[in-house]
């Protein structure tokens, strides 16, 4: 970080600084990350017993379980994203800084993205081990799908997190607002990774990948543009 009064960072520089601040806070407490990871592991274990393993092979179950867990554990991190700024009116300090509102949003989204990918890094191997899914060749494909899914999820989730903290229902509202938006993401990610795990060629799930990419492009743009409307005073 440069000394006070030297340079004002541009939009992306400022976004990086804000993301770094959030990640530093999270690294010191690890509260949200640990709870999201523990939640993911618990959910993976509970889901396994919700099906009859003699009727449904666990490899067919795994992709669905993975993306449902991933979505719900992400919500835990997204909830904290703006709740932390709400306490002690820290957000006012951010808003007073000479950076654009879009930069604040992108910085928040970036730190949430790192958070969500971090949860994935634990959840994907955990599901692979617990459900006996041979990841070897499929691993990179799943990682790629996970990244694409995380971008859209984080864009929408960050925006709604910013809105939810200012409402009377606070974190209760976030799942209600964001889950309908996660439907296309979960569907596309689960369908694509099921096909990857079954060793099918790319053309078999190209449509789902394109859907994810389009979702990311549309909602990263829309949410970045919409964010300033949610904070103006």
């Amino acid at each position: 970080m440069s000394a006070a009064g030297t340079t004002i960072p541009g939009t992306f520089g400022a976004a990086l600084l804000i993301a770094r601040k959030d990640l530093a806070v999270e690294l010191r407490s690890r509260a949200a990350f640990l709870s999201a990871v523990v939640f993911a592991l618990l959910a993976a274990a509970i889901f396994y017993f919700a099906w009859d393993p003699t009727a449904v092979p666990s490899i067919d179950l795994a992709p669905g379980v993975l993306w449902v867990i991933f979505t719900f554990s992400s919500l835990l991190g997204l909830n904290r994203s703006f709740a932390a700024e709400h306490a002690d009116r820290a957000l006012d300090g951010l808003l007073l800084a000479p950076v654009s509102r879009e930069a604040i949003f992108l910085g928040k989204a970036l730190s949430n993205f790192v958070f969500v990918v971090g949860v994935q890094l634990v959840a994907v191997p955990a599901v692979a081990i617990l459900y006996n899914v041979p990841l070897d060749r499929a691993a990179w494909g799943i990682v790629g799908i996970g990244m694409l899914a995380a971008v859209g999820l984080v864009a929408v989730g960050t925006l709604f997190s910013a809105m939810a903290v200012n409402t009377r229902l606070a974190e209760l509202l976030l799942p209600m607002l964001s889950l309908p938006f996660f439907v296309p993401i979960v569907m596309a990610a689960a369908q694509a990774s099921a096909r990857i795990l079954n060793g099918r060629p790319y053309t078999d799930f190209a449509g789902w990948v394109r859907l994810l990419v389009a979702f990311d492009l549309v909602f990263v743009t829309a949410c970045t543009l919409a964010y300033p409307y949610t904070i103006e005073r």
């Binding site: 009377r168 209600m176 439907v183 979702f215 829309a222 949410c223």
Partner: protein
Amino acid sequence: MRQKRLFDAFFGVAVLAVMATFVRAAYFTPVEARQGPAQKIFYIHAPAAFVALYVAFGLMAVSSALYLWLRDEKLDRLAASSAEVGLVFTTVVLVTGPIWGRTVWGAWWTWDARLTLTLFLWLIIVGYLVLRSAVDDRALRARYAAVLAILAALLIPFIHLSVYLFRTLHPQPIVLKPSAPSLPPEMLVTFLMALASFALLFLAFLRARYRLATAQDVVTGADG
């Protein structure tokens, strides 16, 4: 300022029109050969879906976008009113659909593109109304609601696209299609009557709800 009445002659006309449609649909429209009397639910289901999905939801999205641009409180009230009345019509669609589906398809529900879309639209509108009820500041509430409505409008094609890959029991359009409608003339007339009377009923509800919103804003403060 004198309070305008919520239910007036216009409302009465709309209710009478819907009743006339039902009488015609029940007694003066031929029974469909294969589906029997069950097909009569079409005259509630399809016009309600049309009004909810196109008129109410479209109005909500457009007036929300215009609100962020023009910042006129009337547009926010219009968006909120069409969301609430639209929710009623979407509920009608979601209740009549399974009843019809159970008789004709043998299944209450199927995860086809349109059914799923309608269900999520319903959930989004509920979320929209809950969001509105959870914000006290009027300007903030209007902006949040508008942002959600615009994002929801962007979401619709994605849900449609993603569910489209799971094909489908729901009939393809039989009235709104490029070639001539494949409905027999008597049924088509009843359907168009149903469409018109449902649209009229929607407008009547919308007007009443809008007047209520105005009255609420006058009571709760600031400007009138």
